[in-house]
Structure formats: C-alpha cells, structure tokens
Amino acid sequence: MDRLDRTFREPGKKLIIYLTAGYPSPGADEELAHCAIEAGADILELGFPFSDPVADGPLIQEASRVALENGMSLRGTLALAGRIRKRKDTPLILMGYVNPVYRMGYGTFSQRAADEGVDGIIVPDLPMEESGPLKGDLHRAGISLIPMAAPTTPPARVERLLSSGSGFLYLVSMTGLTGDAIASSADWKPVAASARDMGKLPVCLGFGIRHGRDAAEVVGDVNGVVVGSAVTRVIMEAGSPDAALRSVDELIRELASAVNSG
C-alpha cells in the first residue's frame, strides 16, 4: 500500500502494465515482468487466470486459458509476485476474478499476498456492495482493494467508490471488454473529471489503450494509464521468447515516453 501511495506522490503520470501470470509460460512470465519494469512500467499488474473471465476480450481470455493449461493458479501467481518482489521495489498489484480468492479464503489470501510483497488487488467481478469481507482482511494486511468505475457509474457512486477504496481508482474507458478499441466518444471523461474534483484517489484509465498515441491522447485527463491487451497481443504474436521480450520492451518504451511527456 505504501509503495502505491509513494508512487503516486512522486511527480509525473504513471504507466501500469498488465501481464498474465503463467503466460506465455512459467518462467517467461517472470522475465517479461522484469523487462516491463526496466522498460518503464511504474506499477506492475499481475493477472491470476480464471476459467470464466467474463469482463475480458479474446486476447486475455486466450492468455488465461494458456496460463491455466500451464498449471498457473492463484498460489502460483502469489509465488511469482514474491520472486519479482525480491528483485524489484515496483508496486505490484494482482488482478483477477473473485472465485479463486474466495476459494483460498479472504484471510489466507490477504496474509499470503502481504508476505509476498503485493500492494493491491483489482477484482473486476467484486463490486463495492460485495467487497466488505475481502476489504476488511486486505486492510488488516496493508493491501489496497482498488475500486473500478465505468462510464456508466453515476457521480454519487463514484464518490462512494473513492471514499471506500484505496490505492487508485481504476476507470474503465468504455462499456466494453479488455482489448476493445477505445471509444472516440470518450464517455469516461466526465467520470474522470468528477473523480478528479473529489480528489480522494488518483485516477488511472484502462481498457483499449494500445500504443503511445492512445496513451498520449488520454493521459492529460488522468494520473496514469493501464495497458494490458496490447502487451498480451505482442507476446502472442512474437515468434519466440526473445522476440516477445524485444517487442514488449519496445512497446513499453513507446508507452512510457508518451505517458511521461503527458
């Protein structure tokens, strides 16, 4: 939690990079994580795979499927976070659906996550109404439950999300799935503006940001951007593990330079 707060207190916009644990293979995921951080990710988001990712588009669905086939699990993701933490001080957040966490037990999960140096968690199918029990356990372990908002979220609800959440507000750019193209209508802007006015948490925009140009276009209105499917795509399209590292490095450098000049 402290790492997240510290990161957002430092000047400049933040780049958050999402990688699926266990994708494209155990081992390669860890190398990609270090590569992402070295190329300019300010915060690393590690996805723990789920069999039924209803908020994800085809790219992250496929990465999750492969990760599960590779034997990746929530336990495995926590272990991966711990290995990354040994070498890097970058904030680490986990992202994934609630059932694996529920199954492990909220208390057990929170303790293990703290032990591995995890700073926060994003759970797309755990809305504010149902988040009480997990939040209590996470809070005791010093981990943020990062709230999500969408263009459909009314202002009063944004306010409640901001007061009850911690870390930052993850603003979904559209009524869509991960990997969808960002809408030119920019329905997220009013939500970003009202969240900024309320001023309780930094706001980071995710979903649909594919390259430096997208990032540069939106970063002025928020505190940071999250990029996931675009990273997954270059990994998927790379012919070899080395090629994946090279393309991820290149994409993240491009994104970082757009975000930093924003």
């Binding site: 789920f50 069999s51 039924d52 990712p53 209803v54 908020a55 588009g57 669905q61 499927r65 599960l68 699990s73 929530l74 336990r75 609630v98 059932n99 694996p100 966490v101 529920y102 199954r103 492990m104 797309p124 199918d125 755990l126 809305p127 109404e129 149902e130 999500m148 908002a149 969408a150 263009p151 459909t152 979220t153 009314p154 609800r157 979904v172 009524t175 869509g176 799935l177 969808d180």
Partner: protein, 395 residues
C-alpha cells in the same frame, strides 16, 4: 432443518447465498432491472397482461396428467405430472421469457440477448422477441449447436441470430460468459434474458417468480383432484428454474421436495453436473452458490447427456434450500435418464425432455419407497429436441 428464507434480502441474498458479483459496468443496469422487476411484481396491469399472454399465446394453464403405468404409478402410488411440455415451444422456459421480454418492452429496451444450452431457452426467448417485435441474439456453445441442431434452425426461423461460442467446452457455461460479455458491451439498450434462476440479483428471484406459475397452478389442480396436497414434489435441477417454480409455492407446507441433478457418467470432476451434490460454495456467474470447482477456484466443466443440465452452477435459492434442509437433492446418471426416457415414452405415450427424464428416472429408482404416496412431478419439457441424441444412443 431450519425454515427456508422465502425472499432474498435487498442485496439479493437468500441467507448466505446470492448477491450481485458483476463488473462495475453492469451495476447500474442491474439496479435498474431490480427496480423495474419490483415494480411489475405488484402491478396489476402488468400481471394481468402477462396472464393473458400466458393463456392466449402459451396455452396456460398446463394440465396435470396422472400416470397410468410408468414405474407402477397408477397402482402402487399416485404420480401426477405438471405438463410444462405442453407450453408453446415445448418447455417451461417460455414462462420466464414472456415475463422478461414484457419487462424489457416496459423498460424501453430495444434488443434482446440470451444464452442457451438445450436450445429450449433460446427458442423461448426468440419466440417472445418475435411476439413483441424485438431483435434477438442467442449465444450457444458449439457442442450444444451440434447436439441440438433442430432448435438452432427454429431460432433462426424465429428471426434470431444464433452466435456460436467455441470457448471452453462449447456448452452452456461458455454461452453465459459470451452473453454477459455482449451485455457489458451493449448495456444501454440491451436486455439480457437469463434462462434459469441463476446469475446476479435480481435474476434468481425474478426467474423463480415468473416460473412460480408452475407451482401455483399445480397446487390448485392437485388439491382439486385429490382433495389434499401431494406428499412429494420432484423436479430436475439444471440452473434450477423449473424446480424453484414448482417448489416455492409449497414452501409454507410440509410437502417433501426432491431436486434431481445430472449424475452424468460418474462422480469424478468433469463427468457430471451435480453442483449441489458434489460441488462447494463459490462465486460464479454473478452469485455465491454451490458450484463445481477445483482447489484453485477454477470452474470445472460439467457433463450431462442433457444439454439443459450441463451446467457447473446452480441458483442460490437452491443452495439455501440445501443448507436449510428444505429440499433434498439427488443425482441420476446419463444411462438412467436415457432408459427412463424410453420406458416412460412407451408406458405413457409422452416423449419427455432428457432433463425431465432425470426426475422420472429417480422416481423409477425409488418406486418401492413411494408405495402409497402421492407424487407431483414437473415434466419440464418435451423430448422432440432430443431425438438425435436418442438415435445416437450416446451416453
């Protein structure tokens, strides 16, 4: 046995089960749907209109039929069937889809989406959408498209677009995932007609309420014919809508209730669809309920010879009924269900849906213990759709 919770709390919990575990994008839509549903629940005009459509379009009330031969019924015990197979489109599913599509019209929604397993819910949704003049997209797993080819063609004739889902095992769970993704993308004008008493609040209570017409009618018909309540209710349980519709109007009585899940080809993971019998509590498709999952909380693929029971989850109200002891749940294998289908069709001249045949098979198995009893079973649908499976003799 503790007494069951009759209605969910404001957040959609039946005791500890239920809730609304969905992406933030959908929360305002679920809120809106919950309000609209509560409004029509007590609205005489809406209920009157729904009743008229049920009668004049779907053929309600459906009759009770007393069995004459099957498993010794007629002689050793009374077996009355609530004939949901005689509904328009051949299953109980239309009770729910007419209700939901009328609600969609009232809410000003302009597009209908649905998932389907057996194709019965897809056909019933496409039918209701045709009746009310709304465009309709139905998500269906590729495996189900293969085994329910006739229903696919029916949906297309009805003007619906059938969208094949090839993720996972290509069955009902994958179709639900894809329908939810569609709803996330098109939440503004789209109404998601969910086909069973599962999903995020208010779906479980809404679907059960629309299906309660089964139990309300059956209770009156049974008491008129027999001068007393039945001793036992039996229904098959996929997501649990026909069972909940039959059971709920009897919760204030001491009538015993039995739900039959898909036992598939064995008790190992991946071989059955017995969420209540062999699963554990988890959060899946929007609610906390019994689910088939592994140690890591990954959802395990279900299996059943009947597409409508081939689902790894079950409605939260059933989980609460299991925990409170209000309903007992058992499972019946693919083989038993197929055998019951053949035997029952010969004995009674009615071809049952493979789903309903699970309930029939349990009655056959338990026939000795049923001597002297009065049993009321929901015959949830007709079996025409299963002809190919029956011809293949596949188990």
């Amino acid at each position: 046995m503790t007494s069951p919770v009759r209605e969910p709390d404001a957040r959609g919990f039946f005791g500890t089960f239920g809730g609304r575990y969905m992406p933030e994008v959908l929360m305002p839509a679920l809120e809106e749907l919950g309000k609209a549903f509560e409004e029509v629940r007590g609205n005489a005009a809406f209920q009157g209109e729904l009743r008229t459509v049920m009668e004049e379009y779907s053929g309600r009330p459906t009759p009770l039929t007393a069995c004459r031969r099957y498993a010794g019924a007629g002689e050793d015990f009374v077996l009355e069937l609530k004939r949901e197979d005689l509904n328009h489109t051949g299953a109980h599913k239309i009770n729910n889809t007419l209700g939901q599509v009328m609600l969609a019209v009232r809410m000003g929604k302009t597009r209908i989406i649905a998932e389907t397993g057996a194709g019965q819910h897809g056909v019933a949704t496409a039918t209701a959408a045709a009746l009310f003049g709304l465009p309709c997209v139905v998500y269906m797993g590729v495996e189900d498209i293969r085994r329910q080819a006739l229903n696919v063609e029916r949906m297309k004739l009805l003007g619906a677009e059938v969208f094949p889902v090839d993720q996972g095992a290509g069955t009902l769970k994958d179709a639900v995932n894809e329908a939810m993704r569609d709803w996330v993308r098109n939440v503004g004008g789209t109404f998601y007609v969910l086909g069973s008493a599962v999903g995020p609040h208010p779906y479980p209570v809404m679907v059960r309420t629309f299906q309660s017409v089964i139990g309300i009618e059956a209770r009156e018909q049974f008491t008129q014919r027999h001068g007393t309540l039945p001793d036992l209710l039996v229904a098959c349980v996929g997501g649990g809508s026909n069972a909940a519709g039959l059971f709920h109007p009897f919760l204030d009585t001491s009538v015993q209730m039995v739900g039959i899940e898909a036992g598939g080809t064995g008790d190992d993971p991946g071989r059955h669809g017995s969420s209540l019998g062999l699963g554990s509590p988890g959060i899946f498709h929007g609610s906390l309920s019994y689910v088939l999952q592994n140690d890591d909380g990954q959802i395990v693929t279900a299996h059943s010879v009947s597409a409508g029971l081939d689902y790894p989850g079950v409605g939260p109200e059933h989980s609460q009924w299991k925990e409170s002891g209000s309903v007992a749940y058992y499972r019946v294998s693919d083989g038993e269900a197929l055998e019951a289908t053949r035997g029952f069709t010969r004995d009674e001249g009615i071809l049952p849906a493979l789903e309903a045949a699970h309930a029939l098979a349990w009655i056959f198995r338990e026939r000795e213990g049923l001597a002297g009893k009065k049993v009321l079973m929901c015959l949830s649908g007709r079996g025409d759709k299963d002809m190919e499976t029956l011809l293949e003799g596949r188990v």
